[in-house]
């Protein structure tokens, strides 16, 4: 991206000045190098989002931002329904509520390392992954409605996990406002056998250990320490979420025309929050979020079963569960006034600071855990939300490393088998259903997660707590 089109507001903060029909400025949080590497399309997309009705403060992009659909991936936009604010498909995407759940095990890296092959094999067998895989749950259409209304709460009621898990999930495991009647029967049918499956693409399940501690107090609060082994699960609402996207992109495209919302990009198909179309879409997204929460809850249960068999001395507990592709109703201060806003986070993560009611009681003093997935074989991070982040970015942070090479480039550059061997030499076990999939997700295909996380930390959006390194990775 051309630096001369931006106004530098701080070492890690860059403004796209308001021009043309932009209602607010754009703002990118990133280091100079990340900005230079960023595609010019990101600036165009941030500016387009800034022109949508009812947008508040600024159209934002995180350090890992890249070219997305309408919104950049790594984009954040908050809209006020009282000012004609919209709900926008591009700000949520196809993989509704794709997210990361991290579980503590109570075990140390020394205890797990000698057993890692056995553990990885057991996880690979237990957790269904990859295209065409089916879950262990086979639901009826009415049971799917219960999933869409109940989210992780439904899963716990069915015996998948414990009541106390729910405290550590956004919205306590159940997104309010979900209306299964606004989700098509095609979407539901596609999910009947998919609850509790990992999926493919960039989704994974990793066994990780704490390799570095930056904030000892916060780490203690989150129940981890140097050498602690955790499990991270990255997946979303599966086919149901994709189908909601397919169904509503058409409807919102028509709605934008009907309400005379000038959209510069068809991908910004949207409807006023306070319109029948907007309300219907929001209730379908809420159902999609519940589907993802139930999915991760069932997978966590499968992980617990594996540990019960392989290492029964483990105590598998929830650390936290975050979502990336969402629209959530939150209170934020805008120019000194408290407002209820619809915050879209596309490929970015909620990162609420200390004191917020949404943060679990046990973590409220230090802020919400922000789980950042790296790429296979590199590292991941846990950060904590800050007050500064609430002011600057509606309490948001990056969601991962962001791609540097396209899938086609990656497939041409890397060989899945070789990557698995190379990582093996580094002591990391990869279990995958597809070599081609591994090549597309090669570590070199992504931006440097360390640089992205450092930019989030330095910009004050969230603060580093620990670094995690992988021991084993299960891929679709």
């Amino acid at each position: 991206m051309e630096l001369n089109s931006l106004v530098r507001k701080g070492e890690y903060e860059w403004e796209i000045p308001k021009r043309g029909d932009m209602r607010v400025p754009g703002r990118i949080f990133a280091s100079r190098r990340l900005i230079e590497e960023m595609d010019d399309k990101v600036r165009e997309q941030i500016s387009n989002v800034a022109s949508l009705p009812g947008i508040q403060k600024a159209s934002l992009a995180m350090p890992d931002a890249h070219w997305g659909y309408g919104f950049p991936i790594g984009g954040v936009g908050a809209f006020d329904p009282e000012e004609g604010g919209v709900i926008c498909m591009g700000g949520i995407g196809f993989d509704i509520s794709c997210g990361v759940r991290t579980l503590r095990t109570g075990l140390s890296v020394e205890e797990v390392k000698p057993r890692i092959d056995e553990l990885a094999e057991a996880l690979f067998r237990k957790v269904p992954a990859g295209l065409g895989s089916r879950g262990k749950l086979h639901l009826s259409m009415s049971e799917i409605d219960d999933v869409l209304r109940g989210g992780a709460v439904w899963a716990v009621e069915q015996g998948y996990g414990y009541q106390e898990d729910l405290e550590y999930i956004e919205e306590k495991g159940r997104m309010p406002g979900a209306k299964p009647e606004n989700v098509s029967s095609t979407a539901k049918k596609r999910q009947l056998h998919e609850v509790g499956t990992l999926g493919s693409g960039n989704h994974y399940l990793e066994v990780q250990y704490v390799s570095e501690v930056y904030d000892a107090e916060a780490a203690r609060t989150y129940g981890i320490d140097k050498g602690s082994v955790v499990i991270s699960v990255h997946c979303g609402s599966r086919a149901l979420g994709h189908q909601i996207g397919m169904d509503y992109i058409k409807e919102l495209y028509k709605a934008a025309k009907k309400y005379g919302i000038p959209i510069k990009d068809r991908e910004l198909a949207c409807a006023p929050i306070k319109s029948p179309e907007g309300e219907r879409y929001f209730s379908a997204v809420a159902a999609g979020i519940n589907c993802a929460l139930a999915n991760r809850q069932v997978i966590a249960h499968l992980v617990r079963e594996v540990f019960q068999e392989v290492m029964p001395e483990a105590k598998v507990e929830m650390l936290y569960d975050i979502s990336h592709n969402t629209c959530k109703v939150e209170e934020h201060r805008v120019d000194g006034v408290r407002k209820t806003l619809y915050v879209h986070r596309k490929g970015s993560t909620r990162a609420l600071g200390p004191g917020r009611n949404e943060v679990p009681r046990a973590y409220r003093k230090v802020g919400q855990p922000v789980l950042i997935g790296g790429t296979m074989g590199t590292c991941s991070f846990i950060l904590r939300g800050t007050e500064e982040g609430l002011e600057k970015a509606f309490g948001s942070a990056c969601h991962g490393a962001g791609r540097a090479k396209s899938r086609r480039q990656a497939k041409r550059t890397y060989r899945g088998e070789r990557i698995i061997q190379e990582l093996r030499r580094k002591g990391i076990v990869i279990k995958a259903h597809s070599y081609a999939g591994v090549a597309e997700e090669a570590p070199g295909a992504y931006k440097d997660v360390v640089e992205v996380v450092n930019a989030v930390h330095s910009a004050g959006l969230a603060r580093k707590v620990v670094q995690l390194k992988p021991l084993a990775c299960i891929k679709g």
Binding site: Y69, S406, A436, E440
Partner: protein, 138 residues
């Protein structure tokens, strides 16, 4: 080349060419399934019927592709061969998709396409042949 894929930062673009609009739509579907699987490995064992409607020809392409994805997923199939008929005004389509059930070992599937999108969506004619393209989310 009847169809091809092209780079998009996070995902993949798909493009079909044809002497007619119908052929371009058929080849765009091939391009999309080629993202998931080597089409030479997919035998046309069973045929499925698809009907799609949209406000314009461009969104009709996305609708066609998304219906194919939903159908493939519901039936547990992969498709590699298509035929379509498009109405005069370009807003209605009737088509067939042929393929076989997913075989995880023989098909070596790379990724799952989540949906066809409006990004870089273009349907048009250039140099005497039709072209239909968009980006698919993977």
């Amino acid at each position: 080349m009847e169809y091809e894929t092209f780079d998009h930062e996070a995902d993949v673009g798909i493009r079909g060419y044809g002497r007619t609009l119908e052929e371009a739509f058929e080849n765009a579907a091939k391009a999309m399934f080629s993202v998931m699987v080597d089409l030479r490995r997919v035998r046309p064992l069973k045929e499925f019927h698809v009907v799609a409607e949209a406000p314009d020809t461009e969104t009709l392409l996305v609708e066609w592709l998304n219906q194919l994805l939903a159908l493939a997923h519901l039936e547990g199939y992969l498709f590699a061969d298509f035929s379509v008929k498009i109405s005069e005004d370009g807003t209605r389509l009737e088509g067939y998709a042929r393929g076989e059930p997913v075989d995880r070992h023989r098909h070596e599937i790379a990724v799952e396409v989540k949906g066809a999108t409006y990004a870089m969506l273009e349907v048009g004619k250039e140099g005497g042949r039709y072209r239909a393209q968009c980006v698919v989310d993977v």
